[in-house]
């Protein structure tokens, strides 16, 4: 068995190789029984996974669900039960910092988003008012959601318009750069790390959308990632301003 060849077998099975790569793998498999046997095994694993049966829980979970539904009231779109910790909690801000940042966030994001929405409206009247994502997003309880549905729609518009979005991001990045000296090193490191992750997600979503432009799930993810970046920049900028 040759690892340099077996390492390609999953991509081969999934049709992820180029024509040349595929031809090379097939030529090797014709002469290497051990590698061909690995391929057969991998095919069996994939086939087994594809036919894995769904099995219900051992205990009936409905009673617990019904109890929580009843205590939580009627179905209420947009309201999310407390669950887990959100990604934003990676930050280690103190409560006073968060309170001040939240106040500034509302003011800054409201102004920026309103301004951006105005510019969008002037520049392109065909941009429709965005609706909350249809995808079953577990992020409805994001901090930005606290600013209300109208704000959400405006931020969505910012997210969908490249020029306006980029301008808002550039403004915030400049403000953050100016205020960088007022943040401690660990906070800067956290912010930069998260920005890097979000940028990666944005780039991946853009790449994926290039191959599948009609995919609404990818579109909503791109919007969400961009909104997160804007939100993070606003928070960090507000924090830098607050600690001035």
């Amino acid at each position: 068995m040759h690892q340099e060849w077996t390492d390609q077998l999953s991509d081969y099975l999934d049709g992820e190789l180029s024509a040349d790569e595929r031809d090379a793998v097939e030529a090797h498999l014709r002469t290497c029984a051990p590698c061909a046997a690995v391929l057969d095994d991998l095919k069996r694993v994939v086939a087994r996974a594809a036919t894995a049966a769904a099995r219900p829980p051992d205990a009936d979970l409905w009673a617990g669900i019904a109890a929580r539904i009843e205590t939580g009231g009627a179905a209420s779109p947009g309201r999310v039960m407390p669950f887990g910790r959100r990604e934003a909690r990676r930050f280690t801000f103190t409560l006073p910092q968060l309170a001040a940042a939240a106040a500034l966030l509302i003011a800054v994001s409201g102004g920026l988003a309103w301004n951006a929405a105005e510019r969008i409206g002037a520049a392109d009247s065909s941009v429709s008012v965005a609706q909350p994502p249809q995808t079953a997003d577990a992020d409805a309880a994001s901090p930005a959601a606290a600013t209300g549905a109208a704000e959400f729609a405006r931020v969505e518009n910012v997210g969908m318009a490249d020029a306006q979005y980029d301008a808002a991001v550039a403004d915030l990045e400049k403000a953050l750069k100016d205020g960088r000296g007022r943040l401690d090193a660990s906070t800067i490191a956290i912010v930069e790390h998260n920005l890097q992750i979000i940028d990666q997600a944005i780039n991946q979503a853009r790449d994926a959308l290039a191959g599948d432009p009609a995919n609404s799930y990818l579109s909503s993810h791109l919007v969400e990632a961009r909104r997160r970046k804007l939100d993070l920049l606003r928070r960090a900028t507000a924090l830098a301003t607050e600690t001035n």
Binding site: L42, A50, A52, A54, I69, A75, S76, P77, A136, A201
Partner: protein, 182 residues
Amino acid sequence: MTLSGETPAGSGLDSDVALAAGGDQSAFERLYRTHVARIHSLTRRMLSTQEADEVTQDIFVRTWQKLGQFRGESAFSTWLHRLAVNVVIERRRSFAIQRDRMSDDPAALDLLTVGPARADLKVDFEQAIDQLPPGAREIFVLHDVEGYKHREIAVMLQIATGTSKRQLHRARMLMRKHLSGD
């Protein structure tokens, strides 16, 4: 992606979705009973048997609360499944393990000593999934069991597509090893 339990237009399930969105708990219970096996299997495979019950309950409570946002642009089962995947991913992130598990670990592959091919797959498939390292496990479940594409997984988990591919191959090779009993 092919999803089991797709809802034919105009079926009773469609009615139950509408009724549940209007606050009918009996209709929602019928939806629960229709979909619980698939959702519980997803949570069990991606998390653990111990966490599966609690997270499955969380998913259905979340579904109840978000039903008003379901606009019928996709099958209810597809919408529910996507919500479930998001909740599971959020749960994993909540334990601050996502990043570490997604990092490439070439050494892990080097440690593998894959045995000779076997004609049969002996060990229980579900137990074999349980033995996978977390990062490889979730990508194996999402790709090979649930049918998501690498680019979708990359977006959901905020990782590179190449990382998703490498982790999948790692998972398959480990599954091969586990299932052949070596």
